[in-house]
């Protein structure tokens, strides 16, 4: 992926060698018609790491979307009939031998075993945990991006006092560490809603709100910087001269040109939010009475369970690591593909 291999299909005819081919050939016509996004996609498709990561991410998305049918396929369920049927209370609450590891052989009834003490099926919890993780991360990314883009657009385009005030707020929010904000919100949400029937839904909504409130600043900064340079370009001035209203200039003229920075900030946000969601659940301040990978990890770090049954810890842990890692690497590849200057 060095500059030498950045052939004609990546940057048009910027290479030093004179074009040998007939300019009217099939290939030349194709080159002429490529948009920056298509060039980026072409680069991505050639990046082996990006393709592998995209497949891994796709796998997790399928798991999340089809959690129900996959559970039905394996005949497992979130509902545990009776914990004592599955776990051995006399043996530290570990699963009975016929339930699979750690004391018995693999069984198709519970492909990933059952949880100690509660006897919950690990596969079902893993799949639905994946759904919670992706759902929260995606929703929060969407909201945070919208807030960030709008504030960045306004600050960059309007300039002057508006820019100063908005930049002040961006800087102010940047000084508040996210983890602390979530920690501060947790007891308040608990106090207000812990008796409500839909407490776990409220917790998830609150988590999305906290993630969005403390996640938009990076996008806003990026967009603001980009808008400041775009604002002086001819097409914007032309639109102004034609008497286009500001809102139309912002959303019809500027926004389409901001696709690359928006994609970049989304690619940074998604893995962060997946990791944070699980991290907060691990600390006991995110999703606390629902299904979440972080919560399973918290349960599995009970030292007795960890010594006897480390697989119970590794299942959600590998889920988080694989998802975050592939999202991060994919994001990196996307950033490289979108930036015409990168040479790795």
């Amino acid at each position: 992926m060095s500059a030498d291999t950045a052939g004609p299909e990546t940057l048009g005819s910027l290479s030093d060698e004179p074009q040998q081919q007939d300019p009217n050939s099939q290939q030349a016509k194709e080159i002429a018609g490529k948009s920056p996004m298509r060039i980026a996609l072409g680069r991505l498709a050639k990046d082996k790491i990006a393709v592998v990561c995209a497949l891994v991410v796709l796998f997790f998305i399928i798991c999340a979307v089809f959690a129900g049918p996959i559970c039905a396929l394996f005949g497992v369920d979130l509902v545990t009939p009776l914990a004592s049927e599955r776990v051995d209370g006399l043996n530290k609450g570990l699963p009975k031998p016929e339930m699979g590891p750690p004391n018995g052989p693999f069984t198709w009834d519970h492909p990933m075993g059952v949880a100690p003490r509660t006897g919950e099926d690990n596969l079902a919890y893993w799949l639905y945990g994946c759904r919670v993780s992706l759902l929260i991360a995606t929703t929060a990314t969407i909201f945070a991006s919208i807030v960030g883009v709008v504030i960045g657009l306004l600050a960059g385009f309007l300039g002057g006092t508006v820019d100063k005030v908005l930049s002040f707020f961006i800087d102010m929010f940047l000084t508040i560490p996210f983890l602390l904000a979530a920690l501060t919100m947790a007891p308040i949400i608990n106090d207000r809603f812990n008796t409500a029937d839909n407490y776990s839904t409220i917790q998830k909504v609150a988590l999305v709100i906290v993630l969005s409130i403390f996640g938009w600043m990076g996008t806003a900064r990026l967009i603001r910087g980009e808008v400041i340079t775009l604002r002086e370009r001819e097409f914007v001035q032309a639109a102004r001269v034609m008497g286009m209203p500001t809102s139309r200039i912002l959303f019809k003229e500027l926004l389409p040109n901001l696709a690359a920075p928006i994609i970049i900030s989304v690619s940074l946000m998604l893995p962060t939010f997946v990791a944070l969601e699980a991290g907060l659940a691990f600390l006991g301040i995110g999703v606390t009475d629902g299904i979440s990978w972080g919560q399973t990890i918290l349960k599995a770090t009970n030292l007795t369970f960890f010594r006897e049954y480390p697989q119970y810890l590794w299942q959600p842990l590998l889920g988080i690591v694989a998802l975050v890692l592939s999202l991060n690497l994919l994001g990196d590849a996307v950033r490289d593909a979108l930036d015409p200057k990168t040479r790795r």
Binding site: M172, L183, T184, I188, D191, I285, T301, I320
Partner: protein, 336 residues
């Protein structure tokens, strides 16, 4: 220079005021009743409406919010006496309230937790700078070679794993499974009480985890800054003059490259000082982060509020310092 510092100071104070107001309002309007946790605690979960009203009245929750915020700010500067039900609790300046659980002034416990958090932060930061910067410089000098590429991609890989999982696995496997002697008892042991060795061995694993993880990021920053610095014209001039390569890299290149790294370090270090929640939770270090988690679980609202305020203050001050130091290092900043 002076004008710049004054300008930054004013904006720092403004941010601090806004953040403290935000936190105060959050704890005022957020819970269904701010007195509910203490009422539940004092009456062993048999809090009736009448009892709740008594707690609300004595804690001042019936007064307008601005009045109570004023009292709170006054307490921070001159101290105050808090009344909970029929008992009075003196609280010397700077008063951050009285813990619902221990009935002690929050400030005293906060001060007693600071050494643990600071020990973790200083040791971890020292390790990641010690390894991060030299490795970054070495990678930048060998830019494009196989070693550089291997280093960059393996570090990218490590830093893509969530930190808390990395720390958790380090602790579980080194301390619990393999029982490595040096790491066998993690936690904070005051150097004055237990001696330096116990202090060191208790914190060492936390430092290593923070150090390895932070080092991957600092290597990347340093490498990026060095690559840029080494492609400057003055480096070419230095080479043309025939200076030894060590002088070129360290005296001319590194000096310029370190400025952005120092900035990032300042902000990171502030975040570490403000509470290393995951590190403290995993390695069982009873610092500020641990304490605030405990307070969240015990619904000890004054403590949660105090830790939030403390962290905000630490972060704002460290950001301020970074800006001032940066303006000293790089005069262009002052002009813009």
């Amino acid at each position: 220079m002076f004008a710049y510092v004054v300008k930054r100071l004013i904006s720092g104070v403004l941010v601090l005021t806004l953040v403290s107001m935000g936190i105060f309002l959050l704890f005022w309007f957020g819970p269904s009743s701010p007195a509910q946790p203490i009422c539940d605690r004092e009456t062993s979960n048999r809090c009736t409406q009448e009892k709740l009203a008594v707690y609300e009245k004595t804690l001042g929750y019936n007064n307008p919010v601005y009045e109570e915020y004023g009292k709170f700010v006054k307490g921070v500067f001159v101290g105050r006496t808090l009344t909970i039900a029929s008992n009075e609790y003196p609280c010397a300046a700077p008063c951050l309230g009285v813990s619902f659980r221990t009935k002690q002034p929050v400030k005293e416990e906060l001060v007693s937790r600071i050494p643990a958090t600071f020990s973790v932060a200083i040791g971890g930061a020292f390790l990641y700078l010690l390894f991060g910067i030299p490795i970054g410089v070495a990678a930048a000098r060998r830019r494009g070679t196989v070693a550089d590429k291997a280093l960059v991609s393996s570090f990218l890989f490590i830093s893509s794993i969530p930190y808390y999982l990395f720390a958790l696995l380090t602790w579980l496997y080194l301390t619990i499974t393999f029982e490595v002697p040096l790491f066998s008892d993690t936690g904070y042991f005051a150097i004055t009480e237990y001696g330096p060795f116990k202090w060191f061995s208790g914190l060492f694993l936390a430092w290593v985890a923070l150090g390895i993880f932070g080092c991957t990021q600092y290597t990347r920053f340093t490498r990026g800054a060095m690559v840029e610095a080494l492609s400057e014209d003055y480096i070419r001039t230095a080479k043309a003059k025939g200076l030894p390569s060590r002088t070129i890299v360290y005296r001319h290149g590194l000096r310029a490259a370190l400025v952005p790294v120092v900035t990032i370090f300042g902000i990171d270090f502030g975040t570490l000082l403000a509470g290393t929640i995951f590190t403290e939770r995993i390695f069982e270090i009873q610092g500020i982060g641990w304490w605030s988690l405990e307070a969240v679980q015990g619904r000890d609202l004054p403590v949660v509020m105090a830790t939030a305020l403390f962290s905000a203050v630490v972060l704002i001050i460290s950001n301020l310092l970074v800006d001032v130091i940066y303006s000293v290092l790089d005069p262009r900043v002052r002009l813009s």
